[in-house]
């Protein structure tokens, strides 16, 4: 088999893995959008915040250490404990639930019935706030996140592909794990929304707010629930990306990666988010591999957007989005 084709296949596989991670972030967007019509720009920052909190809890950092030191002139840094990853994750989930409740009580409740653009702006404000809060609480330095997931080249795939093609594919163990975990998460979410009472209530709210309200579903509870789930999805995404490239500010930019995925898949469709993520992941990696060197590289920054844009011109509601019906 020619070398170029083999490289291409490797790039394709890696693109699929990256796509799964994009899909994971996009999933958080879709959940909130479906349930409350809010386009939550803060999803990426939530991932950053969750990852920062996880590292902080595991390392036993004192929250707001910088601020306390600056105000009181003390020198506090760490509580001096190291927690196992599982305990840290459970505590972080708790923090995200509290955050979800706060966001709902303090912000979203007061913005009911506002135009979508106002809600969107509010989430941008929330993103700024949480970005500052995360840095202020846990410090702005790059942190290493290690929850015990295996990293490095997968030996089995390397040897198998070497035996078949005479060229070993480089595939990161972490990516494989991310794919598996994302798949489990998606299946769990589907089971949750299909077979549990809360899940049904959630789908009812997504379908029609007023009707759901009139059959006795508490909108408030559902919104807190959905923001909590989005927080949990953000945590998972934060762990994956954090383990891959360190917990730092750039983590919040994955939200920008998820937006074209959403456009492609449709804002209201969970399968759309996954398929869109895969298309974008593979598309941008292959484009960078095939065309990138000719035009100066780093095309990953915009390729996804342009692809989604061209796509939307032909199908304005995305791949799986609900058909947009307009009436006067």
């Amino acid at each position: 088999m020619p070398d170029q084709l083999l490289f291409g296949m490797e790039v394709f596989l890696n693109g699929l893995m990256a796509g799964v991670l994009y899909a994971l972030v996009a999933l958080g967007f879709v959940l909130i959008y479906k349930a409350s019509g809010i386009f939550n720009y803060a999803q990426g920052v939530m991932a950053l915040f969750a990852a920062l909190t996880l590292v902080g809890i595991m390392e036993g950092q004192v929250p707001f250490a910088h601020l306390i030191n600056a105000v009181f002139g003390t020198e506090v840094h760490h509580f001096g404990w190291h927690l196992p990853a599982l305990v840290g994750i459970i505590l972080t989930v708790g923090v995200m639930v509290v955050l979800a409740w706060l966001v709902n009580t303090l912000i979203m409740k007061h913005l009911v019935n506002q135009e979508p653009i106002i809600l969107f702006m509010a989430t941008i404000g929330l993103a700024y706030f949480m970005e500052g809060l995360g840095d202020l609480m846990w410090g702005a330095d790059i942190k290493k996140l290690d929850v015990g997931l295996p990293q490095g080249i997968n030996g089995v795939i390397d040897t198998v592909t070497y035996d078949i093609f005479g060229y070993g594919f480089f595939i990161d163990n972490l990516d494989i794990w991310a794919t598996v975990i994302a798949a489990i998460l998606v299946i769990a979410l589907m089971i949750f929304s299909q077979y549990t009472k809360q899940g049904r209530a959630l789908r009812a709210v997504a379908d029609d707010h007023q009707a759901a309200l009139s059959v006795g579903i508490s909108l408030n509870f559902i919104w807190v629930l959905v923001w909590s789930i989005a927080g949990f999805v953000a945590l998972v995404a934060g762990i994956m990306w954090g383990a891959k490239s360190g917990v730092q500010f750039s983590l919040s930019l994955i939200a920008l990666k998820a937006l074209p995925v959403l456009m492609l898949g449709g804002f209201t469709s969970i399968p759309g988010a996954i398929v869109g993520g895969l298309i974008i992941g593979v598309g941008e990696k292959l484009f960078e591999f095939a065309i990138g060197p000719m035009v100066g590289g780093a095309t990953e920054n915009w390729f996804a957007y342009v692809l989604a844009l061209l796509f939307l011109v032909f199908r304005p509601q995305g791949l799986f989005g609900e058909k947009i019906i307009e009436r006067v």
């Binding site: 506002q114 590289g297 780093a298 920054n301 844009l309």
Partner: protein, 358 residues
Amino acid sequence: MFYREAGDFKTSYVDDNQTFPIKFDRWRYYAVLFVAFCVVPFFINDYWANAIFLPFLIYAIAAIGLNILVGYCGQVSLGTGGFMAVGAYATYKLMTSFPDVNLFFHIIIAGGITAIVGVLFGLPSLRIKGFYLAVATLAAQFFLVWLFNRVPWFYNYSASGQINAPERTLFGHAISGPASEPWAVYLFCLVFTVGSAILARNLTRGTQGRKWMAIRDMDIAAEIIGVNPLVSKLTAFAVSSFFVGIAGALFFAVYLGAVEVGEVYGINKSFLVLFMIIIGGLGSIFGSFAGAAFLVLLPVLLKNLLVGTLGWPTDLAAHLELMIVGLLIIVFLIAEPHGLAQLWRVTKEKLRLWPFPH
């Protein structure tokens, strides 16, 4: 008592249609112009010009531009940073290719070039609406910044990838480059800002502005009553990009002098200008000014307070500033979704009745 239409008799249609129908408003407007043109230049120094006046004037132009698109025509755009970059790089190429032509004309032509680019990226708006459009305009943002970063022709093959504004003069005074004088630069920007504001104000209250607003309120209904959505949306994109391009050009040529595109014209710039018009008030020229002033002054004040007075470390102050900006945006949206302009409108209504409550 003094803020009344009463007693101010209009005897011609021109009088009747003027921008400020109330005498007090008119005098206030002239007074502000007088102070801006004839008083401030004598007292301005480097710090005031660079920290407050220049960013305020330039962001005001950008905010007016974006307000036309978002506030008047209802097409949400997140590509402002990219369009500002187009203005900046167009000016740079013009300045270095035609050094004999005055910078004033370069900036206007740069605005025109940005308008063309804006129309190109506005084309999808005919098919895509709402959030899908907002995200689609991000394509412009990322693609344009990437283009200026990667294609050496745009930065004249300079080794650093930066663009530097060469020195240019107007009436014998340097307005760009390292030797520029703050008062000359200030006046130069002021002329553009006032010109943009007058142009925008008169555009938005004329036929075209009404068409934009019809499209904003309900595009299908507008189409049925005979507003051409193609022409309206694209003119909104063109006019908006024209102003945004001028703002980007001024930002580069006379304010910063040297620009690294990813840093200066990144996505944060788009959000900043969007915040300005949201806080200031969508669909209001005054709101564009108020929002720009608010978001230019806020960081300066916070920095002075936290770093200067309380003596906190700068990184801590920066984080706190992010939180406060985010919080203020949320508080504003909850308390007054129509922005500072609405507060101003309410105040004027109250003033008109004062001293009576009803």
